[in-house]
Each structure stands twice: as C-alpha cells, then as structure tokens.
C-alpha cells in the first residue's frame, strides 16, 4: 500500500547528519584493536582531539588519508566482526570530497559523528539490547523513520543482510548500509517524481543509470 496522500515517502532520520559528541566506544563501533585513544596533540583546527588521535591510529600507513581497508579495521559490530566492505565503501564515498576513494582527517571526523548518530538510532531500535536488530525491531525502525514498507520487504532484507540462523538479525554495519541505501534510493526516486505522486515512468536506460550512479 502507499502512504497518506501527498506523503508517499519516508522522512530522513531525526536530527542532522552531523551531531556533536565523543567518538564511539564500547561494544558498538568501537576503536577495535587500537583500544583507547593515543595522546592526540596537534589536532588540526576544528577537529576534535579524540577524533584526531583515532585518525592517527587508523591511518596505519601514515599517508594522511584513510582507505576503505583501514576504515574497516577500525570499526566493529557488537559481535566483534569488522564492518563489511560495502558499508565502509558507502561511508568513504559519502565523506570523500576528492573522489579519491579515501578520506582525510576532516572527512574522518565527520564520519565518526555520522556513525555515532546511526549508533544511537540502532541502540534505540534494538529494544531488547541484544546487539542486533531482529525482524520486528526492523519493522518498527522503518515505521519510526517514516517509511511505509511491507513486512515482505523487511523479510527480504533480513535474508539478504543477516547471517543465516534460526533467528536472523542485523548488525550495526548492515543497518547503516540498509538505511543509507534506503535514503539514496528514495532521493533518486523523488528526483524523478516531480509531481510527488509516488509513481514514476522510467525507461530501461534511465532506470539503470539512476541505480548505478546512486547505489554505489
């Protein structure tokens, strides 16, 4: 079914994309093998000293930039698995101003705030605090985010993103991946749906272009 008339789309997550606050710690998205922050003197202007010391720890080859591979090592799910490649790539692309496939300390600092924002939401939707999001919790999350999506869709996402088990659920990295892709798919659709009717007519070529340029 569709949403209420004139409002076929969901809302973006509450709050701006860049909150304030300290770098994530604890069992979610923690610093991984690097443990606590190293002494972080000489942070560039405007960069949080904690973010800066974390940047230095993650930038393993001291290139002044963080690659997808380096980022992956720094981010952990609640089950101690590292963030998956796709999510790291999506996030790097989001904060990479130079389109070089890596981010500098400013991009990294913004990325940390971004992750913190999503981590907060994730913990909110993880009602039983299991460290991962189940089918019903996912349904609820979508509903609270303003998306009107079918249970079948949530089921599809679970089968696609969760590990095969009797009770499949989604870790933080895939939750971020799903939400980022939902947003970007919605944006792509909205761009074409100038009349806001919830329906677009697409040629095959337009369809491929829309998806391949956005959903990377």
């Amino acid at each position: 079914g569709g949403g209420p008339p004139g409002a076929p789309y969901g809302q973006p997550p509450p709050g701006g994309p860049y909150g304030g606050g300290a770098a994530p710690g604890g069992p979610y998205g923690g610093p991984g093998p690097y443990g606590g922050a190293a002494p972080g003197g000489n942070a560039p202007p405007g960069v949080d000293p904690e973010a800066f010391s974390w940047f230095q720890a993650v930038d393993a080859d001291h290139s002044g930039y963080i690659s997808v591979k380096e980022l992956k090592q720094a981010l952990l799910n609640s089950n101690w698995s590292t963030f998956n490649d796709e999510t790291c790539l999506l996030m790097i692309n989001m904060f990479d101003k130079t389109r070089s496939g890596r981010i500098d300390v400013y991009g990294f600092s913004a990325l940390l705030r971004f992750i913190q924002q999503w981590k907060n939401l994730f913990q909110q939707y993880d009602r039983d605090q299991s460290g991962s999001i189940s089918f019903s919790e996912l349904q609820q999350a979508f509903s609270q985010m303003g998306y009107n999506l079918s249970p079948q869709f949530s089921q599809l996402l679970l089968s696609r993103y969760a590990q095969r088990s009797s009770n499949p659920s989604i870790q933080l990295d895939r939750f971020i991946q799903i939400c980022m892709q939902l947003q970007s798919t919605t944006d792509a659709f909205r761009e074409k749906d100038t009349g806001l009717v919830g329906n677009v007519r697409l040629s095959y070529e337009d369809f491929l272009t829309m998806v391949m340029t956005r959903m990377m």
Binding site: G1, G2, P8, Y9, N84, D85, E86, R99, G101, N148, L149, S150, Q152, F153, Q155, L156, L157, S159, R160, R164, I178, Q181, L182, T185, T186, F189, D193, G198, N199, V200, R201, L202, S203, Y204, E205, F207, L208, T209, V211, M212, T213, M215, M216
Partner: protein, 198 residues
Amino acid sequence: MAFPGQPVPGGGFYQGGYGGAPGGPAFPGQAQDPLYGYFAAVAGQDGQIDADELQRCLTQSGIAGAYKPFNLETCRLMISMLDRDMSGTLGFNEFKELWAVVNGWKQHFVSFDNDRSGTVDRQELEKALMNMGFRLSPQAVTAITRRYSTRGKITFDDYIACCVKLRALTECFRRRDASQQGFVNFQYDDFIQCVMSI
C-alpha cells in the same frame, strides 16, 4: 525493444533454466554432472547453498581459473540475481544456471585481459558492457567504472559483481515490462524493493 539477453557469444544473458524440482538429481545423469559433485559437497540436507557455500563451491569448481576466488559480497550478489523465491539460497538448477552465466562473462573478461594481469582498464570495461548489450548512458558508464576500478584497473571479481548487478536490474525491469515497451511505471514501494533486493 530488445533487452540484453539475445544470446551472444559470452553474452550477458542465459536462457537456460532446467525443469525439475529444486535440489537433488532432477533427471537421469544429473548425478554424474561434475557440477553436481561440487554442489553436493557443500549443500546440506536441504539441497540449497548460501553465500558462504557458494563461495566454496565456485572456488572448488575452478571457475575463477587463475584469478582470485570471488569475495563473499560478490557471492551474495550472485545468489540474489537468481534467487527467485527470495530464500537467500540457491538450489542445484539455479547454481547450474549461475555457473553458465558466470562462465560466459569470464570468457569475455579473458578476451580483454591480454596481459593476463587479472585486471582490465576502464575502456575495456566499457567495451565489454556494450558487447554484452547493456545500453548505458555516459554518466552510468562513468559511475560504474569509477565505482569498480582501483587505480584505473578493474579486477575480475569486481567485474563479475558489476555484471551481476546489471543483469539483476535488467531482470527486475523486464519482469515489470510485460508488453516489452522499454518503459515501466514504478510505484515507490516497488522501486525500493526492486533496487534493494539486489
């Protein structure tokens, strides 16, 4: 309109599809099929394989040849490309279909990888996509090559991932274009589900 899928040498579409029940020998001689050996070695009682098992299966079958075996995300993509019942797994018939399609793409890749480096450059990727019949706008081609290349080179695994996505999207579109006009009216919900199921 013609979708990519007219059989072309090493083409992007495979018009196979065997009959029979999912999993287990469906016709005499299937058990002797070498592919069935690889499949049965990893599939459980349910006769289905998930992404991990597919990765093992493809590696053992040697389809990647001299190239590095596929990464897990690519295997997941391959499953979603053929996973018609949306179970997240493949039965033997689907696996066979996959194997044939991937083999076709591989032949294509090999024909471009003249120095056997395991990578092709952006122009070669563009040519390969065109040869497979994917009519893409210049922006789409730019976005694709940017996304899939590292330092100007595209690896075999990434190339396969790209082909899988394009094919899955094409299937998605084609299923909704019953009259084959080359246009589809997408409802928002359907569009989201279509794109995110890949």
